[in-house]
């Protein structure tokens, strides 16, 4: 028997595809300022990190989304990408914009997820969706990298496999962080984010 693929969705085209609606923030745009509280009650402000000259990674998060489980539970993409960059002073903040009553919302649910997924960075709660909408965040996970000068360095997906099961061969965020570290140009500063839609307030 020969196995023949009927690929509905050609993975080879991933590099070329774009999001359907609106790209939102473009590389070079100013990153909207925010202050949010994490699952432990601590306050986090983007500006504080920028003032310290840090690069900040934002990850839109929803503990019950299959694509988040892919990268936090079945694979450890986010933890590993963070681990490779944190010694360079890179800050990683997860943000949950699920509205009250919607999937992935709730302090207890997110506290449990931090433990279960062994998340080594803060999960900030944005239940009004104000920060998510300001960034034009659409999916979980939707990734942003912010330069120390407060501009957007990267907007898009974590990697190049849009399925809920497999991890991509190219980790765009790791590649962008490496380029920033080496003072090089980011080859792919904008990619189509993928995942579950963010469960914003209606």
């Amino acid at each position: 028997m020969i196995r023949k693929s009927l690929a509905v969705f050609s993975l080879c085209t991933i590099l070329l595809i774009a999001s359907a609606a609106l790209a939102g923030l473009e590389p070079g745009d100013a990153a909207p300022a925010f202050t949010l509280i994490d699952t432990e009650g601590a306050e986090y402000s983007l500006q504080t990190y920028l003032d310290d000259g840090k690069i900040v990674v934002l990850e839109w998060f929803n503990p019950d989304c299959p694509f988040i489980k892919k990268h936090h539970l079945n694979h450890k993409t986010m933890n590993e990408t963070f681990a490779a960059a944190k010694d360079e002073g890179v800050v990683w903040l997860a943000i949950n914009s699920s509205a009250k009553g919607k999937e992935g919302h709730g302090l207890k649910r997110n506290q449990r997820a931090v433990k279960e997924y062994e998340i080594p960075f803060p999960v900030l709660i944005d239940e009004s969706g104000e920060v998510g909408r300001a960034y034009g965040a659409k999916t979980t996970p939707h990734m942003f990298i912010i330069n120390p000068d407060g501009t957007v360095a990267y907007n898009g997906a974590i990697d190049n496999d849009r399925s809920a099961a497999k991890v991509g061969e190219t980790n765009y965020v790791a590649a962008a962080l490496m380029a920033l570290r080496e003072g090089k140009k980011i080859v792919m500063p904008e990619t189509p984010a993928y995942g579950c839609s963010i469960k914003y307030e209606n």
Binding site: R3, K4, E103, K138
Partner: protein, 310 residues
């Protein structure tokens, strides 16, 4: 009607084939709730059907198992060198949706991997027109509610032996969403007898599905024009126009705010000195309220890149 494989399946060089793939982490792909529900359903069916007739009752989708998939071959037999159509039917529980294989902000379209005997060939999946679905946060997707029927041509080799039965296996994966998203996966199989003569009756599930596929725009007054990086579409007889880009369309700026009434102004992002091409589906809602969806294709045009730096 006699079809050769080449005619019915297109250029063989366009067919896709891949070497065997390792089995994916099947269990982890199935939502625990779905697994539980599937087990419960299986046990339930076993109890209900103990001693009952061989008649199969189709499963009904529920919130805990929102997608039920079946496959059938049409016609139910094939002659050597001829083709059959596989008809995949996804039945969805109320309010759940599946994703189109074109451009979406979120989700993932159904994925089907076929296992075919040597010498048999498969064409691409054919997708009906989806509907536009906008979620809070301007999240734009193209989806199917209720039912999704995909069709796919399978070509038998000329030396297929009449009198034998051939088994085709399909590994089907999908992501279904409502106010939450649940991935699913199932293995389907269909047996196709090879006969020297096969008579197809019309209409059948395959011809009905084929009739619903979006086709090229018929002759009608669609006015189109590039103006800088914007592609204008105007249909004076339309009440509403909706454009749904396929993966090979140029990158758009803001599809949600690109049209009103009988006009669309699709704003593209220049890339490498060009904008476009315009590729996708165009839904035209007529004054009477009925709507039709067509495939449209317009080539890219020259557009100088914005000066960088500055």
């Amino acid at each position: 009607m006699k079809n050769t494989i080449n005619k019915s399946l297109g250029n063989p060089s366009e067919w896709r084939s891949r070497p065997p793939k390792p089995i994916l982490t099947a269990m982890s792909d199935i939502h625990p709730k779905s697994l539980l529900a599937m087990t419960a359903l299986l046990i339930g069916t076993a109890i209900l059907c103990a001693g009952c007739s061989a008649q199969k009752k189709p499963q009904q989708p529920t919130d805990s198992n929102p997608v039920v998939v079946t496959v059938e071959a049409v016609p139910d037999a094939v002659a050597p060198g001829e083709s059959v159509t596989l008809v995949y039917r996804f039945v969805l529980a109320a309010d759940w949706h599946l994703y189109w294989a074109g451009r979406n902000d979120s989700g993932f379209p159904p994925l089907i991997d076929l296992e075919l005997p040597d010498g048999w060939l498969a064409g691409g999946l054919q997708w009906p027109a989806p509907e536009r679905h906008v979620s809070p946060g301007d999240i734009l997707d193209h989806v199917y509610f209720g039912e999704l029927v995909l069709i796919q041509k399978i070509g038998a080799p000329k030396d297929a032996q009449a009198g034998r039965k051939v088994a085709i296996k399909a590994d089907v994966q999908w992501l279904a969403c409502k106010d939450m998203c649940v991935p699913g996966r199932t293995g389907l199989s269909v047996e196709i007898p090879v006969k020297t003569q096969v008579v197809a009756t019309e209409p059948n599930p395959a011809s009905k599905a084929a009739a619903r596929l979006p086709g090229p725009l018929p002759d009608r007054t669609l006015e189109t024009e590039w103006e800088g990086a914007t592609f204008h579409i105007h249909d004076p007889r339309a009440r509403r126009l909706i454009f749904m880009p396929t993966e090979d369309c140029g990158q758009l700026v803001d599809l949600l705010n690109d049209g009103q009434g009988d006009r669309l102004a699709l704003r593209f992002k220049p890339r490498g000195g060009t904008v476009g091409p315009v590729r996708g589906l165009l839904t035209i809602e007529n004054e009477g309220g009925d709507s039709f969806t067509y495939t449209i294709q317009f080539p890219a045009t020259v557009f100088p890149d914005a000066p960088s730096g500055g």
